[in-house]
């Protein structure tokens, strides 16, 4: 049975003609569409009409365009099948509905197909959409038609930022890099000069092969420097610093010494340590210490200063480290007394009381001047950073019987002063007198009677 369904809205009328599924049942839904007609009373255009293809295309186009009006995001058109109906926005806020007629048989060129173009107002479009919505919601007409509302997927949305704008930062970066590269191309490559090594004159150098060129680093048994290299370096005299260095050194050596290998007897080394605690040099003190040196942590811990640094006047402290058979490491300052004994010069720490003091101001003045002149004539530049004060004892003839350092620095640096060489072991005499000798860091020598001027 042929039925007609009409969806009438103020400015759009949609009429469908078709066949019901069952001719006897009046409530049977319209299932086969024969003709669909869309008419806009306000527009002076003949009604649009077509079959199922036209209706499907109209529904799709209206749905998509309506969604585009709501969201402002257009779904890109399907290039393969543009559909019979298309909707586009007009410049003045209106809408363009274009309908291609169903291509006739034999016509190949789709451009040749006549196109109907209707300009719609927003109200007309809304009524068209509403008519379609009512049709979609109507279960009595074409129940197979349902709304397929879908959001536009992210992939289909064109970026709102144009390509040129997006590519600008990358292009700018690449151009900057190229420009920088070009500019740096003309900058000459800096030449690298190897640091010049000054040949160091050491006491042992006489035994070393003299053919070594100055640039060749001296080859040794694990360390490149010996404590004698630092004989010209100023000594650290501050007791606190020395204590700290001693403690640190003991800990470092104890930690680095694998105690599972015990030496058969004490290994004794003389160490030169910088102010930072670096072991600058070491030397064996007994023969077994030489043989067992590779078992001690010393070769690993020894800091090998580069040649230019070695000659620098870095303050150093000297220690004696003893690795005992029971796994103990004992570090003691390399005392002035030991230094004195090592150079076989007796340096009495305390001078006995003088039995008979020299009297007579003229004689005292003469002795004073004579001592001053003799010390000055033998004086070498000292590395001390504080005044070195000594008590020097002279006999009647003016020979030095003995001397004693008064302050700690004086004890450590006694070897640098001419006093040890000037001690006359044979000198004696009943009448003696003490003088105070001070070497100031500025290089000034001061000599005065210990008990003051008469």
């Amino acid at each position: 049975m042929t039925v007609k369904r009409q969806y009438r809205l103020p400015s759009c009328t949609l009429t469908l003609e078709g066949l019901t599924a069952s001719s006897s049942d009046l409530k049977s839904p319209l299932t086969v569409l024969m003709n669909a007609e869309c008419h806009f009373p306000d527009a002076d255009q003949p009604p649009l009409s077509g079959g199922r293809e036209f209706l499907d295309s109209l529904i799709t186009a209206v749905s998509r365009y309506g969604q585009q009006l709501l969201s402002g995001i257009a779904r890109p058109p399907n290039r393969d099948d543009p559909g019979l109906v298309t909707l586009k926005a007009d410049q003045g806020g209106g809408h363009h509905l274009t309908v291609r007629s169903t291509p006739l048989e034999g016509v190949v060129d789709p451009q040749a197909v006549p196109v109907v173009d209707i300009k719609l107002t927003t109200l007309q479009f809304h009524d068209l959409m509403e008519a379609i919505d009512q049709l979609l919601a109507d279960s009595q007409t074409l129940p197979d038609l349902t709304s397929h509302l879908q959001s536009v997927p992210r992939q289909l949305v064109k970026s709102t930022i144009p390509m040129v704008q997006r590519a600008t930062p990358a292009a700018l970066g690449a151009a900057t890099l190229a420009a920088a590269g070009l500019a740096l191309f003309f900058v000459p490559v800096p030449e690298i000069k190897p640091p010049e090594v000054k040949p160091t004159v050491t006491r042992e150098s006489s035994t070393a092969p003299p053919a070594l060129p100055p640039d060749t680093p001296p080859q040794g048994d694990g360390t490149n420097s010996s404590p004698e290299d630092f004989s010209q370096s100023p000594a650290i005299t501050d007791p606190n610093t020395l204590n700290l260095l001693q403690r640190n050194l003991t800990r470092t050596l104890q930690q680095g010494w694998p105690t599972d290998i015990k030496p058969s007897e004490d290994l004794s080394y003389r160490l030169v340590v910088s102010e930072d605690g670096d072991i600058l040099a070491y030397k064996y003190e007994n023969d077994i210490a030489l043989g067992e040196v590779d078992r001690t942590p010393l070769p690993k811990l020894a800091f090998d200063p580069v040649g230019s640094l070695r000659s620098s006047q870095e303050p150093v402290a000297q220690f004696r480290a003893t690795f005992s058979p029971d796994g103990e490491v004992v570090v003691k300052p390399w005392s002035a007394a030991e230094a004195a004994t090592s150079s076989a010069t007796p340096a009495p720490a305390e001078l006995p009381e003088i039995a008979n003091k020299i009297r007579g101001s003229d004689r005292i003045r003469q002795l004073n001047d004579g001592l001053y002149d003799r010390i000055l004539s033998n004086l070498q530049p000292l590395s001390a950073s504080e005044p070195l004060t000594y008590r020097v004892r002279l006999n009647q003839e003016g020979a030095i019987v003995a001397y004693a350092p008064v302050n700690a620095a004086a004890g450590l640096l006694a070897q640098e002063t001419p006093l040890p060489q000037m001690v006359d072991n044979a000198a004696s005499g009943a009448d003696q007198l003490d003088f105070m000798v001070v070497f100031t860091p500025a290089g000034v020598l001061q000599v005065s009677p210990w008990d003051g001027w008469p």
Partner: protein, 201 residues
């Protein structure tokens, strides 16, 4: 479509008509929050009692549990990043569904007025006259402008775009057309789906 979970979590079957979109987060995208607030702003410009009507409508539709009152509604609308007192809180999809439903009902209630205004605007456009020649339309436009300027943060990039009267008028007319499209049988669904254009996977 996860229909099961939707019906279970929906406080009202009316929200079940709106499908949950396939987006990565359970929160409303930025553009959707702006659009919802602007459409509500347009209904307020059309009808001064719109705020009250919205609450009554929410009560009638059984959406009280989502839109819990005046303050809650204000908080929801303040998720619009263009607002002066924009809230950092997210807008849940459920809350967005409720607001979209309310917008659909409001638009349907105001259909006659919206049609009148659009009709008047079209007539004035064909005569090349300014929309201010239509008394009711001029009313709507000036009210929308004052609402917009009072509530939106003028330093926001999204608001700076509408710095002139003409641009705001254009926005108001655009929203009027969108409200009309929301008023139909499937208007609410169409609006809901359009909110996630360019967001779904």
């Amino acid at each position: 479509m996860p229909v099961d979970s939707l019906t279970r979590s929906s406080p009202s079957p009316i929200l079940a008509a709106l499908p949950t979109p396939q987006i990565s987060t359970p929160e409303c995208p930025r553009r959707a929050r702006i659009q919802i607030d602007l459409l509500l702003l347009a209904t307020e410009a059309l009808d001064l009692s719109s705020g009250e009507t919205l609450l009554t409508l929410a009560h009638d539709l059984g959406l009280d549990s989502v839109v819990k009152g005046r303050v809650n509604l204000w908080l929801l609308r303040s998720t619009n990043p263009m607002r002066r007192y924009s809230q950092r809180r997210p807008m849940q999809l459920e809350e967005a569904k409720a607001l979209v439903t309310l917008i659909g009902h409001q638009a349907r209630r105001l259909t006659v007025l919206i049609r009148q205004l659009l009709m008047g605007y079209q007539q004035l456009t064909t005569q090349q006259l300014s929309p201010y020649h239509h008394l009711r339309l001029a009313d709507y436009l000036s009210r929308f402008k004052s609402h917009f300027r009072a509530r939106m943060n003028p330093r926001r990039a999204g608001v700076i775009v509408y710095d002139t009267d003409e641009k705001l008028d254009q926005l108001a007319l655009e929203l009027l057309g969108q409200l009309l499209l929301c008023s139909g049988v499937l208007g609410t669904q169409r609006l809901w789906v359009s909110l996630f254009d360019g967001e779904v996977q």
